[in-house]
Symmetry: C2
Subunit: 355 residues, 2 copies
């Protein structure tokens, strides 16, 4: 497909890895990246190598005014990563400049940007919808993609569907690994069936070397443990998070997670949300996956048989590979849709063959 | 999605099973079906139950003038199915009438038809492109879907892409099981990787009860055996086909098949056609699958790991389920694309997230 220019809002683990993966893909040109303190823009294409080298282990996530978060970003956790002071975050790159209005700055450049990845995984629940609204109100005509995991955000985006359609925005929500890649796999695996009884999504993540970069994700996962929710998990101090991790010897198993896969599959007409179960095992002390990521779709065929189709990811594929490859895949598809005037709010399963 | 009206050209095994599967799907209304001798049209929706009951074991495939085939249809093989004389094929249905120009009759009705499935698997290699051309020349604005397996047909369709785009046609080619469902699975499984080294598609089909209905498919498969090609397989008599089947005790294994999956994956930018291998085992004496249908995609991740993602179909899912469900899924997606003005020629992998 033709060249696609894109921006990344947020240069934490997901944002930076997306920039990196895009270098291996055809037809993708990253032209802007921002965090709460700075922005780098080059419409001819950012020098991703320089930007990554300058910001690796250097994430700006301090609480600030008009910043990508607007949330208590202690939730990004950790002390090993430089997060404050001069040169924190993207401004450490020679391509970047400081700004107090990073999102507005991207919006100001957006006429020349085909797609914007909202790589802001751990913010207040209405932050992504509100940010998208700002793009729409500025008349942005292009693609927005998020990698959120929260079911309730999708309803908030749907409420704004008219606004996005009027502006000319194609919004793909929940386009990471799960929801995202595995939601898509479930949607495709369902095609053998005329009725889907059950979708089981089971993931394994080994996150030793990526732990510092992905503390926000770990905190979000902890919100799914018995006795916690998103709010209480956000209040935990880093030491409390570490204590929970220690209690589990670094290996935490999750069952019946409230993941957005369920609403995204129901939304695409594949099954009831209640028929979707999501669980997995996170190991923060090893890069080996503690279990094999597997999607099982059980259904009934038109000729009366019952069966289970299966999709499995190789244990050698990292969380980062399975988040960022699919995110960029969905982004490119969304640009294709956007260019022919297909606007609105879509989940990953909506970008797969219709059930 | 909104209601989709569709027609089926050809009421052999694939055409009839597609009509049947559509009854289990939301938003699909079959409004026309034809074979070489007759056509049934009802824009309010065909009575599929009546049509299937009337035509089951009754396939019109005699050589005839202006007929869906125009080919030597001995290739459809078999003697157990009623194929000639009064009441052969779709005209046995009380909804149908005889015609000598079935394709033209569908074209004449096509302003009210969203999509046409070309369920004509075993014809001369340019028959589908020529038929599509007739729809385009008549100004058809809608979807055409085929379930072909032949690589060279795709090039012929591509040559006509401008004509389709001018008319307003969205053409999806090779949208059955393989190519089709499994091509899509390979395209999705590739998303973990930045470079795909190898795609292995391996299928199992148990076709005892469906054998009579699918002799054309069996003959096409035989064309992939050592010492045969499409032309020589077409020349085989039914007795010679039976002798080959007997020689293999009813279980025929295929290696390195020249299937369209390779060109369809290359076309979508996922890997080189040469990196795709297709093989499988056909058992015409059992409905149990002789081997599990599996897609393996091996590639390299952005972070330097090599892995193999896997997609497996349950042995309980029949060939018919895995052809017709996906065909209708791709058809519905194509209607969605067509309605927003996305025209041209697409393979199944083009309807998956972009690689």
């Amino acid at each position: 497909m033709d060249d696609v220019t894109f921006a990344v809002l947020g240069t934490g683990g997901i944002g930076r890895r997306t920039l990196e993966v895009s270098q291996h893909k055809d037809g993708l040109t990253p032209v802007a990246a921002c965090d709460r303190n700075g922005i780098a823009v080059d419409h001819d294409g950012l020098d991703v190598g320089e930007l990554l080298a300058a910001t690796e282990g250097n994430v700006a996530s301090e609480h600030a005014g008009n910043a990508p978060s607007g949330d208590d970003t202690r939730t990004d956790g950790g002390t090993a990563v430089k997060r404050h002071g001069e040169g924190a975050g993207v401004v450490a790159s020679e391509q970047a400049r400081p700004t107090e209005t990073p999102i507005q700055d991207v919006i100001d450049e957006s006429a020349a940007i085909d797609a914007v990845l909202l790589a802001l995984p751990n913010l207040t629940h209405d932050f992504i919808p509100r940010t998208a609204e700002r793009f729409a109100e500025a008349g942005y005509e292009g693609v927005l993609v998020d990698v959120l995991k929260r079911s309730r955000v999708i309803g908030m985006l749907d409420e704004r569907a008219d606004l996005f359609e009027e502006s000319g925005i194609t919004f793909v929500c929940g386009a990471g690994a799960t929801p995202g890649f595995l939601t898509g796999a479930a949607a495709l695996a369902a095609q053998s069936f005329v009725e889907v009884d059950e979708v089981e999504i089971w993931w394994g993540v080994g996150l030793k070397s990526g732990y510092e970069d992905n503390r926000g994700t770990v905190r979000e996962d902890i919100a799914h443990l018995d006795g916690y929710d998103i709010e209480s998990a956000r209040e935990l101090s880093d030491a409390e998070i570490e204590a929970i991790v220690d209690d589990h010897d670094g290996v935490i198993e999750f069952e019946d997670m409230e993941h957005a896969d369920d609403v995204l599959l129901e939304r695409a007409g594949i099954c009831d949300a209640a028929d979707v179960t999501v669980g997995g095992i996170l190991d923060v002390r090893s890069d080996e996956k503690p279990t094999t990521t597997t999607v099982r779709v059980t259904g009934r065929t038109f000729d009366g048989e019952r069966g289970t189709n299966t999709f499995q990811l190789d244990d050698a594929t990292s969380m980062a590979a399975n988040v960022n490859g699919p995110a960029l895949g969905y982004l490119k598809t969304a640009v294709r849709m956007n260019r022919v005037g297909d606007y609105g709010v879509f989940g990953p399963a909506d970008l797969l063959p219709v059930f």
